[in-house]
């Protein structure tokens, strides 16, 4: 069902854990499947993401996308991190089954939520960042691929 990359990131997830006194923390959940993801960002004074960690209560795809997302944002600027969309994460993982696309949205939203938290804490505005929903509802019809 899952690609080798997904399985790799699932079995050896990178950056699991918490960051104490993180610059930003974001938690999002998917009301539909009940899964929850939390992202911790450590952002330096130049706005560069020095570290990123996660905790996930979710399916295999949720774990793998969390892991990949942390890898992708590390070392990036806040603005660059905003470009790490769920599509980017999926591509980096060689794709996900159609029913699992929403799990990757969780990762995107978790990063946004952590960035939002960072912006709020620092009283700044990040261009292009909207207040993330804490719940992700996905309305697309899920069609299995054969």
């Amino acid at each position: 069902m899952y690609s080798e990359k997904v399985m790799d990131h699932f079995s050896n997830p990178r950056n699991v854990g918490e960051i104490e006194n993180a610059s930003g923390v974001g938690t999002v959940g998917n009301a539909k499947c009940g899964d929850i993801m939390r992202m911790y960002l450590d952002i330096d004074d130049n706005g560069i993401i020095q570290d990123c960690k996660f905790k996930t209560f979710g399916c295999g795809a949720a774990v793998a996308t969390s892991s990949m997302a942390t890898e992708l944002v590390k070392g990036k600027t806040v603005q660059e991190a905003l470009q790490v969309t769920n599509k980017a994460v999926m591509n980096a993982l060689d794709g996900l089954p159609a029913v699992k696309v929403h799990c990757s949205l969780l990762a995107e939203e978790a990063i946004h939520a952590a960035l939002w938290d960072y912006a709020e804490k620092n009283g700044i505005q990040i261009e292009g960042l909207q207040k993330p929903k804490s719940d992700i509802h996905e309305d697309e019809e899920v069609v299995e691929e054969y």
């Binding site: 069902m1 899952y2 399985m7 699932f10 079995s11 997830p13 699991v16 938690t27 998917n30 539909k32 499947c33 009940g34 899964d35 929850i36 993801m37 939390r38 905790k55 996930t56 209560f57 979710g58 399916c59 295999g60 949720a62 774990v63 029913v99 929403h102 899920v142 299995e144």
Partner: protein
Amino acid sequence: MDKKIYLDNAATTPTRPAVVEAMLPYFTEFYGNPSSVYELSNVCKKAIVNSRETIAKSLGADAAEIYFTAGGSEADNWALISTCEAYKAKGNHIITSKIEHHAVLHTCEYLEKNGFEVTYVDVDENGLIKLGELEAAIRPTTILISVMFANNEIGTIQPIKEIGEIAKKHDILFHTDAVQAYGQLPINVDEYHIDMLSASGHKLNGPKGIGFLYIRKGVKIGSYIHGGAQERHRRAGTENVPGIVGFGKAVEIAMETMKERTEKEVELRDLLINRIVKEIPYTRLNGHRTKRLPNNANFSFQFIEGESLLIMLDMQGICGSSGSACTSGSLDPSHVLLSIGLPHEIAHGSLRLTLSEDITEEDINYVVDRVKEIVERLRSMSPLYED
């Protein structure tokens, strides 16, 4: 992978070598269409008669009351939809439980869209149907009660005899989905007042794609698959002869070995349950402690999610399943686990392990050790778990 411990026998079972053996001649040698005139077909006809008799005997039924179908789902659809059609002059109400298999529940929803009314009776925290509620739900228009013999997720065995007696007392037809129970528990259709019963071959080490519906003599339901005159004009389609032969063989073996198998499975199941519940904190057993299928164990581990658990178990050579239905296209947590009162996030972290006679004590101990490790690992990754 070296190790493989298959603990998903409620999902499906391997076909026994002796069953495959029995089927083989009917593919290439005795391949005739049983409806034909020539001798080649008589062999097939007789083979079907044999299977039908074996199955009838296993239920205390008459051979003429067994109708082969393509599986449990078709049997459930047939029983419900054709009963509603045949008895609609009498009424438009049926009663079932909240924890039925989707083959019953989705058929009920379909019937609701077509003018029938369905009462879904509650179960208690162990998954046992509330008999009082069931009887209270009966209306003058009630034409059918359909309650599963044993639940596929949590293994709870229903008080089928009592339900049968209620149905009989009120002169209402009683159908039971025995897909999980058949071959595991002794069933007698007369003793339990069962009018219709569904079963499926692949749940008892028979082939996939074959099942049957028992229909008591006198129950006047029509066909669900219309066409040829097969199965006493009640189920059209060229008979799946190898499937029927294999099913018969599987039933024969299942009945012969039931007692011994049950004893062994209950012992190992209880070892599994006791160790898991004792050794892993924040864990609950789902389903009734004793009124449960001999091979079923179902746990909820707080703070973790089922699919991750399953994949990690698979990496250790262990096949199990989860109430979490993420992967089957629906993201809703198991309706069964919700019905016994679990909150969403706990229902989410559930694990069903269903044994077979091939499982050893060593296997069980290996499994418990792996489950412990994995649950710990996933909890350490979980934002819900603060230790």
